[in-house]
Symmetry: C2
Subunit: 557 residues, 2 copies
């Protein structure tokens, strides 16, 4: 059995399937395990109060001695964000390109654990040996610089993992995606392709990042006042283009937002971003320059309520306020779920007197993910024996499977997997072979995994109808000592509902008196009765179901 | 003063500006008031637990004797939904076309108040006199049948209110929008245009509803198994087209979802929907027919969690479950905020084995709102002296104002208003003249307006971090009688946090003992101390801020 296993490659996604984010895939062969990516997801709507979601890495903990390292394909949160939590439990080296490691470094510094981590730099084109695996880093293009695809050379064949990518023939900095090497690997034979499904529903090609620069030039050309551009801090090529347009039209550039300042500093230091020293000015200096000589680059392109742009829009930013005629460009598209936040920021900016340009109006953003024609090109070049669509909700994975089939791949060679499922591959065969523990670990404040379904269910209940606490004291003879104390929060406005509170008090007294009389009524029973009877009374009165917390205290006197 | 006022028309939006929904506009002249539309809005994300939002009609209550009637332009919820609440306080006749009134009737029956309402039918082309106003109903086209625009003839001039509309030259049933009459009014002179801004950000024309029929035919033609189409129950023309396509390909039609069955029944009775009796079958009969002879039309096109389609997708519908090969068509586009719900339903349907077609893939839906070129046409035909963009968030109102300016209208003749602001018009002049009370009344269960900001703030707090109740009993000498009772919900999973609960108990005891010792520490003071000290302790331990509710009970013994 152990022997048979040794001859198989096991590919186990621990995150990134049937979801956007939390990307992590395990590759196992005999005594070797490598992990690709280590990302976070943002909480679903019903995960009330949760800050972040990370993958469950129990399987890695159980096989810790096998784990040779974590390979990170690029520096986005959904690929690096879980490292501070995972490295605590899986202390192995992390491999990535320079910029990716620099962004990881910033993150580890924030979590005060840089000294405990071992970061090993690689460059595109390089191949490293990790146990039974040879991992080859292939230059790729995406909405962050220095991203790579991976060719994982295993004893049973090559796995090509595109990670997030688009095919940009004219990137802003560095080399285009190394299609030649991908074609060469395809020619030699690829066992398994794992490819990005994010944009599979969109026909055609994603435009080159360079087209945004042209749009920006056109917009900057006509601008008469201050320009504020919001984009992702990690989109360094976008930032470079904003800077380029600013320089063309004799504007200085100020940065706004902590992550924007950090990432730009890091990228400049490493040479990924080229901003002449006299162009970059401190945000405090913008008041001293004519308004038509300023470009501000800011965070907050997703309308995040505490971000720099939201604060500017609501006129609560310490240093920047909108003046009539300011031009704000939202150079990003909404991540699903953020539409309303962004809309609110746009409304507020207009109200402050700004002119706002956003994707619905002008093409000031392009995606970082490949569309249908790009995906088809990759499939045609790689010509894999097996295919696993990755990075997407089920609908995306399914559509990507359909796309592969439309190119002639047999349905039985395509594996739409779930997180935790094991794909076992030999040189000729692939099959789903069981599952390992996988899932979502919720991060809330300092708590990692201490908030589960019960806590979330209570939060949801509280959020919808609030609560009522009723406290009664009795003595050991079952005599009620005080009139019930009733406290309500999030239910009705108490001051205007004195009458209802009185009724609750009386009803509680009644129920308790009735029950104390009965033999064998434990306090737990009585509390349940109070809960049920109050609940149905209140539902009938208000059609609401507040959480009811009865407290009975026995006083020894 | 009173005299001057008599000579002016006052136009007062009480809802529908800087928001989607809750449409209501007041027209006042001397002793006459008429109200146009009476809609609900759906709650914002932060309105936790709220069911609906209606306009504040205090101004109408204060001027009740003047109010001649409520005119409703079409039967969508954002135009009729607040009637059951508003008619309770403003008992006046309601005017609308046949289908609109029939939908209102259904709604009033649900609220058991039909007998108290006075519904008066009008038809497009008709003009009625209401006090100082002549209200002319003009045939319009929208995503619901029997919708009208209004020409309100007042002593100072004509106001043209488009309400929600698109320009559909080939509607499915009934007449196209009466552009000739609108042009005639424009020719004679229109004082004020109020026009729909929903789609102002979109260039070009909205396609005719008829184009959806062609797409459906193409999709139905190739379908081999059962077809399930989800759409809005009120989109009667869409339903007619689905039925037409079904008949073309020899399929029977079953209806699913309470509102779908109600609206179809109403529309058939009134002749707005034409379905031969042998085509419509009961949902219980679908098991007896071959799968390729069935079309089901269902509610749930917005992915609403309790809707028929959601229950089918999660395999919890009593009568319908997906079989491999079923084709599901989502014939609607997401209302902002619903994207994630719909996405979840699509994922679940794919997982159940269905093939799903939605707007991102195929044009199975068109909007009911005019795009830029249609809006320009209306502006050109009406050539109003003044313009007030309505129905939209601020960004839409602003873009609509820009569109009017681009057509040559002077900026000072355009009024971007807020709900409650009064636009005062004479034959030659228009100006904003003060405000009246306006705002959002929140509906929660049976409560109308009893949930305000404090309740919502508490719900938000509870939803994010839960709560901790600590109860302490003392006697009148300030001696503590029982160890503090600690109850927590939505904070941490209690069973795994015994230690933390113990710490909370001890800390509470400590704080209270310390404070009881001090002179002049009222119980309120002590409770505040418990709150503050526990709060900062827990924040430091967990980086969370649960609501803390201290209760101190004095026992007279």
């Amino acid at each position: 059995m152990a022997n048979r296993k040794k001859n198989k490659l096991r590919v186990i996604p621990l995150g990134g399937l049937e979801e956007i984010g939390k990307n992590m895939t395990v590759f196992e062969y005999g005594e070797s395990i490598i992990v690709v990516d280590c990302g976070v997801a943002f909480p679903e709507d019903e995960m009330l109060g949760i800050d972040l979601v990370i993958p469950d890495v129990t399987y890695l903990e159980k096989n810790l001695s096998k784990v040779k390292g974590i390979i990170v394909t690029h520096g986005h949160e959904d690929h690096i964000g879980a490292l501070p939590y995972v490295l605590n439990r899986i202390p192995v080296p992390v491999y990535g390109t320079d910029l990716t490691l620099a962004l990881i470094e910033n993150k580890l510094v924030e979590h005060q654990m840089l000294n405990r981590a071992e970061l090993r730099a690689v460059r595109a084109g390089q191949t490293i040996q990790l146990g039974a695996f040879k991992v080859e880093f292939i230059r790729s293009t995406h909405s962050i610089a220095d991203s790579v695809a991976l060719a994982i050379h295993t004893p049973v064949g090559v796995v090509l993992h595109t990670s997030d990518f688009k095919i940009d023939h004219t990137p802003i900095e560095g080399e285009p995606i190394d299609l030649a090497r991908i074609a060469e690997l395809g020619k030699k034979g690829v066992l398994l392709l794992m490819a990005d499904s994010t944009n599979v529903e969109r026909p055609g090609y994603t435009m080159s990042e360079r087209t945004v620069g042209e749009t920006l030039d056109n917009v900057f050309k006509d601008a008469k006042s201050r320009i504020i551009v919001a984009t992702f801090a990690s989109n360094i090529h976008r930032i470079q283009q904003i800077v380029n347009s600013a320089m063309k039209f004799n504007r200085k550039v100020a940065l706004n937002g902590r992550s924007m300042i950090n990432v730009v500093k890091t990228a400049m230091k490493l040479g990924y971003l080229n901003i002449p020293p006299d162009v970059l000015i401190d945000i405090d200096r913008i008041q001293k320059l004519p308004r038509n000589q300023i470009v501000m680059i800011t965070t907050g392109s997703q309308g995040e309520p505490m971000s720099a742009l939201s604060r500017i829009a609501s006129n609560s930013h310490r240093k920047v306020s909108i003046e009539k005629g300011d031009l704000v460009i939202i150079s990003a598209s909404p991540i699903p779920g953020n539409e309303k936040y962004i809309s609110r920021v746009i409304n507020d900016l207009f109200k402050q007197g700004a002119n706002v340009i956003y994707e619905a109006l002008v093409e000031v953003h392009v995606s970082g993910h490949a569309r249908q024609e790009e995906l088809k090109l990759i499939h045609r070049l790689v010509r894999p024996k097996f295919f696993m669509p990755v990075h997407g909700e089920y609908r995306h994975l399914k559509q990507h499977a359909n796309l592969a089939q439309s190119l002639g791949m047999p349905e039985e060679n395509i594996f739409i997997m779930e997180n935790g499922q094991v794909l076992e591959l030999s040189q000729r065969k692939a099959q789903i072979a069981g599952t390992v523990q996988a899932g979502s670990i919720l991060i809330d404040g300092l708590g990692v995994g201490d908030v589960g379904n019960i806590v979330l269910r209570d939060r949801k209940h509280l959020s919808e109808d609030g609560l009522i606490v009723v406290v009664v004291t009795v003595n050991s003879d079952g005599k009620i000592l005080t009139t019930p104390e009733v406290i309500s929060r999030g239910f009705v406005y108490v001051k205007e509902s004195e009458e209802l509170m009185d009724e609750i008090r009386e009803l509680t007294l009644e129920i308790i008196q009735k029950n104390l009389g009965k033999r064998k009524s434990s306090y737990a029973n009585i509390k349940n009765n109070v809960k049920d009877e109050l609940s149905s009374y209140l539902y009938q009165k208000t059609k609401r179901k507040p959480m009811i917390l009865p407290v009975i205290i026995e006083i020894p006197c």
